[in-house]
């Protein structure tokens, strides 16, 4: 009995803070998305906010854009990160230098990376200037639109820049703890290099890769400041749309903003469930 009391007391402050702030925030957002708030006199819940956003073309375009941003950047980051890790584990000096750069990159806030991408890829940015130097273009407007563009290329470039090191460090650590033995056995039994990677190494790093991808996907889906800085005005990424509706002068838009927040929360809950399943299975065997 005493032991249970002790554990409860140790956990209580943390659960109170996370329960109050995190679950409380989600719960209040849910109530307000139904326009239900008895404290301020809204006693009749309604589905109007959801009906409004689900019948609006802008919502679907924003939703698809956000899915595109997170899916494409996760996929590219994973492929490049595994490639980089395969390359780095064979180099000694290069590995130390690049692992340091990877970690350095992890400490740089996304916002700074986004501004860097803006200065590199905008129509008057570094690459546009280089193109002008080589007489490929004569005016900024002739440089292809890589930021504020409808395909979110700038946003994806930023996430790839930031997440390749994140996934790379995890995969590299995974590979180092495994060593070369499994692959060496496969090769000695006649497997080709590709077979050794596809059927031996990849299954071994898969759980780590997958859980890192889930974190990256959820982050890219829900982050605000990167699409706010690098995105086109229409369609805007879902978090930007939610913020825009929340700060709208028309207060009636607020429940719609809450409904968008709930849509983001539901999608990230799915991500959370996948993440937990992966880590359970990994600990299980």
């Amino acid at each position: 009995m005493y032991r249970h009391l002790k554990i409860t007391l140790m956990l209580l402050p943390a659960l109170a803070v996370l329960g109050g702030l995190f679950l409380g925030g989600l719960f209040l957002g849910l109530m307000r998305s139904f326009n239900y708030m008895p404290v301020i006199g809204l006693t009749r819940p309604s589905m109007d906010a959801y009906l409004a956003i689900f019948s609006d073309r802008e919502f679907y375009r924003s939703f698809l854009l956000s899915i595109h941003i997170s899916f494409t950047s996760t996929l590219i980051s994973c492929v490049l990160a595994v490639g980089a890790a395969l390359l780095l584990r064979r180099l000694h000096l290069g590995r130390t230098v690049i692992t340091f750069l990877f970690q350095l990159n992890l400490t740089v806030p996304h916002l700074v990376g986004a501004i860097g991408i803006l200065y590199l890829f905008s129509q008057s940015g570094v690459f546009a200037r280089l193109a002008a130097e080589m007489d490929l273009i004569s005016r900024p407007a002739e440089f292809p639109a890589l930021v504020f563009d409808p395909y979110a290329i700038g946003i994806i470039l930023q996430y790839v820049w930031k997440e390749v090191p994140f996934i790379g460090v995890i995969v590299l650590a995974n590979m180092q703890t495994m060593g070369h033995d499994y692959e060496a056995v496969a090769r000695s039994l006649g497997a080709t290099r590709w077979q050794g990677f596809r059927y031996v190494l990849l299954p071994l790093i898969w759980p780590g890769l997958l859980s890192a991808s889930v974190i990256v996907f959820a982050f890219a889906f829900g982050a605000y400041e990167i699409p706010a800085l690098l995105g086109a005005h229409y369609p805007a990424a879902l978090p930007v749309l939610a913020h825009r509706k929340y700060t709208d002068v028309d207060l009636a838009a607020r429940p719609e903003a809450m409904a968008l927040a709930i849509v983001i929360a539901v999608l990230s809950a799915v991500m959370l469930a996948i993440y937990i399943r992966i880590s359970r299975r990994r600990n299980g065997c």
């Binding site: 659960l15 803070v17 702030l21 780095l88 290069g94 700074v112 130097e133 460090v169 800085l229």
Partner: protein, 274 residues
């Protein structure tokens, strides 16, 4: 080494390595150049004139950048201290004990790492208005606990999973009080973990944008908010200088922890959300 390496394979590897090096450092280059540039117009590859004007303005009292810097440091320190205070006992419970409902508690702690801030903060805003916490520094500190606390708990749970309680039992049996035992036995053993957890929490709070924007209502102007405003108003030189200032703590923290970080994937996961 697996398999033979031809000369082409080696060249390919070196080139790709160089490409990685350039690509990783590339976005920081124009920021650094802009901070010393005086008018850097298309199509100049480099600025016509170099100047310290942006740095002088950023570091003067007028611009408010230094105020923002200290405010951000203060908020991050407060959120870190609170997270340590609350997170260390929770980490101990999770790292050293089995109990019913543990899985639920773990999900509860993982959830804020996956669920984005915007999904939570819009709902929270209305109750913070009611409690008078919006547009205040204390409100911002409180909301920063949502992302910082889980990291501290996860790091501490890892530390306590390898912690041997027998030493504490011995100290108690030799007559040490509960406080003395904590002070002289437990604390020295977990201190490295606390430091790593604190540095993560600091960096996570340091990089928050949307939580500060909504709860601070634009009145609590931390460095990322100031940086965003300059970046969208076209003051590229000041943006460069503030951007450089903004990445400084992360750099320092990396240099301090470079050894603890290497090969510790769980700990690196903490930096992933920065």
């Amino acid at each position: 080494m697996i398999g033979g390496d031809g000369i082409w394979a080696r060249w390919f590897r070196t080139l790709t390595c160089l490409f990685l090096l350039v690509w990783l450092s590339l976005p920081m280059v124009p920021l650094a150049i802009w901070s010393f540039a005086h008018g850097w117009f298309f199509p100049d590859i480099l600025p016509q004139e170099w100047t310290l004007e942006a740095w002088r303005h950023a570091l003067s009292d007028k611009s408010g950048v230094l105020d923002a810097l200290w405010l951000t440091v203060g908020i991050a320190l407060a959120a870190t201290a609170l997270s340590i205070l609350i997170g260390v006992p929770a980490g101990r419970a999770l790292g050293m004990h089995r109990f019913r409902g543990k899985a639920v508690v773990e999900i509860m702690i993982m959830a804020p790492i996956i669920v984005p801030g915007i999904a939570v903060v819009l709902g929270l805003h209305s109750v913070f208005i009611w409690m008078g916490l919006t547009n205040t520094v204390s409100g911002v500190i409180l909301v920063h606990l949502i992302p910082t606390l889980p990291y501290v708990i996860l790091v501490m749970a890892g530390v306590f999973a390898n912690h041997d309680p027998a030493f504490e039992a011995q100290a108690r049996s030799l007559g040490a009080s509960a406080f003395q035992t904590f002070r002289c036995v437990t604390l020295p053993a977990i201190l490295p973990g606390i430091i790593v957890g604190a540095l993560f929490a600091f960096l996570v709070s340091w990089s928050q944008y949307i939580l500060t924007l909504i709860i601070g209502g634009g009145r609590v102007a931390t460095l990322p908010l100031v940086l965003f405003n300059f970046a969208t108003s076209g003051r590229n030189d000041l943006t460069g200088a503030i951007g450089m200032l903004y990445i400084l703590p992360g750099l320092l923290i990396l240099l301090i922890t470079a050894r603890q970080l290497s090969g510790c994937a769980g700990a690196v996961g903490g930096l992933g959300r920065v």
